[in-house]
């Protein structure tokens, strides 16, 4: 019995080891590679990849980084930390990449930081919003997006003083972003927050939640939902009930996808953001027209952040003057100001990007425009 088991076992183990291909393959010294993990099968991921690819194209058209052509390698994170970590490991250890320029969710970003740290790589995260992302203690982590705390500093005042609701309902997805936003609203409105709903990021049926919001009688409904498809479903479900309170989306997530997906139901929804497509600087004009030419739509926030992550990293490498000296690149990121799409940006000592203005925006006539009031 044992003998025959042994034979089978040996065969199985040998099979397993025989499958292992050989170690690193040499890659062309010429190209400089940036890596990213994005949920490439979701709208948000395809948008990010499109933005990043556009940055790569614009950099290469201008002669590359330190004369080396830039290449962008992306793997699917599928919104899952497990897949994200696997992709990150592949980028850093198999593809031999030293620079990461892009991740969407904080969950994935937080999970990949230990991998990035143990490989001594450098990452500029594009979209994660959780404060912890830049609090890991590893000095090779940077972030383009604003944090929920930075957003709140500006948006809270507007909500409390200008919108000044009687009753508030908060709809937050069960994620870092949703839960932090729920907490923020609780702190801001106290007892005025009459209903808080938390739901799964894959949920499709929002009729019950919309009915509960309607039942709460709130005159302001705030949404912290990262998928525009879900936001659209919530808005449509509320519209079906004939319920049209003031509706706001937590800063950084309102873009042209929403009116496209929710149609009429999105009218009047407002938010804040660090970026507007109409920002007037040379790089942004070039970016918007190139993006519209290739994708046929106006770029949104996700594309912008993914673009900026690649862009700032490439500029920092040029300032450092040596792509193999990571410390010099880190230093360049921390000590310089960068011209990106939204204007001038610098990174604080934790690696957090700081830009000046927050723009107040709303959906009007099916378009995202600046809100004037």
């Amino acid at each position: 019995m044992i003998g025959s088991i042994g034979k089978k076992l040996a065969a199985a183990l040998l099979c397993a080891t025989a499958f292992m291909p050989h170690a690193f393959e040499a890659h062309a010294a010429e190209t400089l590679k940036f890596g990213a993990v994005y949920p490439t099968r979701n709208v948000i991921g395809t948008q990010a990849v499109a933005g990043a690819q556009l940055a790569v194209k614009m950099i290469n058209d201008a002669g590359g980084v330190l004369g080396r052509p830039l290449e962008f390698v992306v793997y699917d994170s599928n919104f899952s930390p497990v897949d994200g970590v696997a992709g990150m490991q592949r980028l850093l250890t198999e593809d031999g990449i030293r620079y990461i320029a892009g991740v969407v969710s904080s969950t994935v970003a937080l999970a990949t930081i230990p991998v990035i740290e143990s490989e001594g790589a450098l990452a500029v995260f594009a979209i994660p919003k959780h404060p912890d992302v830049t609090a890991s203690g590893y000095d090779g982590i940077f972030r383009m997006n604003s944090t929920t705390a930075i957003d709140a500093a500006s948006f809270n005042g507007y909500l409390a003083d200008v919108v000044a609701p009687e009753k508030v309902t908060m709809l937050g997805e069960n994620s870092d972003f949703g839960l932090l936003s729920n907490k923020n609203m609780k702190a801001l409105f106290g007892d005025k927050l009459v209903l808080t709903e938390t739901f799964e990021v894959h949920q499709a049926d929002f009729s019950a939640i919309a009915s509960n919001a309607w039942g709460s009688g709130a005159d302001l409904v705030c949404m912290a939902i990262s998928n525009p498809e879900q936001t659209a479903n919530v808005l449509r479900a509320m519209a079906d009930l004939g319920y049209k309170p003031e509706r706001c989306i937590m800063p950084g997530l309102l873009n042209s996808d929403l009116p496209r997906l929710a149609g009429e139901a999105a009218e009047g929804v407002f938010s804040e953001d660090v970026y507007l497509p109409s920002i007037d600087n040379e790089l942004n004009r070039k970016f918007v027209s190139a993006y519209e030419a290739s994708e046929g739509v106006t770029p949104g926030k996700i594309e912008v952040l993914a673009f900026e992550a690649v862009w700032a990293l490439a500029k920092a490498i040029e300032i450092a003057g040596d792509a193999d000296n990571l410390d010099a690149v880190k230093n360049a990121l921390k000590t310089n100001e960068f011209e990106v799409l939204r204007g001038k940006v610098h990174f604080d000592e934790t690696g957090q990007a700081i830009s000046g203005t927050q723009y107040r925006i709303e959906v009007r006539d099916g378009k995202v425009v600046e809100r004037k009031d």
Binding site: G6, L9, A10, A12, L14, T17, P81, L110
Partner: protein, 590 residues
Amino acid sequence: MMRYLPWIALSAALASVPFLSTYHASLAVYAVVLALFCTSVNIVVGYLGLISFGHAAFLGLGAYTAGLLTVKLGVNYWLAVVLGMLPGAALGALVGFASLRLSGAYFAIATLVVSEILRIVAMNWIDLTRGALGLLVPKPGVGPFGFEGLRFTHSHLIIAILALATVLFLVSRLVASPYGRAWLLLRDQPKLAASVGISGLRYKTLAVAVSGAIAALAGGMLVPKILVLTPDLFSSTLSATGLLGAILGGRATIAGPVLGGAIFAVAPELLRFVEEYRIAVFALLLLAVVRIRPEGLMSLLPRRRRHARHARTQPNDVEIAPRTALADIRVDRLTKSFGGLAAVRDVTFPIPRGQVLGIIGPNGAGKTTCLNLISAFLTPSSGQVTMGERVISDSQPHETARHGIVRTFQHTTLSAGKTVLENVVAATHLLERETLPGALWRGAGFRRREADRLALGWACLDYVGLGERADMEAGSLAYGEQRMLSIAITLATKPHFLLLDEPAAGLNHSEAMAFAALIENLREKGFTVVIVDHNLRMMLRICDRLVVMHHGELLADGDPMEVRNNPEVISAYLGGGPRKQKEAADVEMH
């Protein structure tokens, strides 16, 4: 040479670790984790024959327990992994307990739902698990496995390989012990298993608990690779992966699930073009496997005979003898109704020790129901079966075997795919009690008891004249031989009372003669035999006493000659149709 192959494989696997790139080492860790996971699934799916669609429940539980113990209580990670096996085993025991009531699809649905409940709990118990955000687990220290020049992943791989090797070593020992034999018998012939004294409760609960512990270990081994705990660990995709790997590799084999798990981890790297479609491709492969080769890929490898050949223990001095029975059996006012229809009504008769008792009667007289009641396969509606002070009819079927009462079945009930000897050895279950540590440790005592069981198996085969057939598959025996094997199986439990349900049905003349001689010999050895049969002529010859049943009631009870001449019996038989008339006429002629 063959004995050393596992050691050679293990050494080769360990020796190759330093030559892997970090990426490939990480991939190998995943392969090892999946191999562990598939091994766990295999215990339930392969050895118990139950389909689990929710095995990620155990894996996730192990991962979360290990991670939380480390993060919240500062327990050393590797210790936490071992501790994490406890909740896995506990949940396994619960699921195993449930499996007694749920079979087939219901069990599959229940497992699916359990993993879904755990996923929701992990998703929503935010204070503990941080929900979807996930709980970060710091990279654990690797202690003595941190060799100079090796990365963490390499050390992790070494630990994982050693864990897998230990699990495989222990599982293969368990499978080749009374535990493994009990699992397979419960899977293939649950009624036979109960009749030879195997408790479904004990063995299924234990098996699923072991499976749960191994899956939890797989979860614990996975965490240092991903370093974050998320509710995805309970996902249906992961459960599916385990099931696919186990079936693809080969159910109820040791190496099959290892192969299946490794393929699952490694193949996507080789077939990068399938990328997103990898699970679909594997599912397709699984469908092909269950259609074309349900035994899995393992059966494609060249190998020796499927059944291990056992050396005959020489010299065989085991005596076939009844165990001492404490008291006679008494059937007391026994009634069994099925939905208002009484199959057995108010029947009373004794079964004194040392007698060959025949129960006869026309079809539908309630003979087999009577046998089912005595062997506790049915619970009486009223009345009882006692053995001295003890009420037998209250017990579970597997408990009666412990009291020395063992039955055969009307339809030949054997593990057709196992050898004749394996069939008998599986029934030696009651010979001596084993403990889990004993079966895993395999000390001198265990080996001696295994030898005893084997010797008893051989003795039983020799006794019924099947010694020459020991290595044949039971299913390939001639019909008459299969009936004889059934009796050998009952003898292997060392019974006192043998309850034989139509043992001679379908036997040809010479086989029937041999059977009669066997019963004669059993009586001489002091066994008590109860036979239900139609063959009146044979029954008159071999029985010391006959009980006649008709329409569920006791018609006559007494000496065969006396019963033969009982006018009521004759009329019952004459009224029983042409075949019975002829039989009755035969009786008259002798």
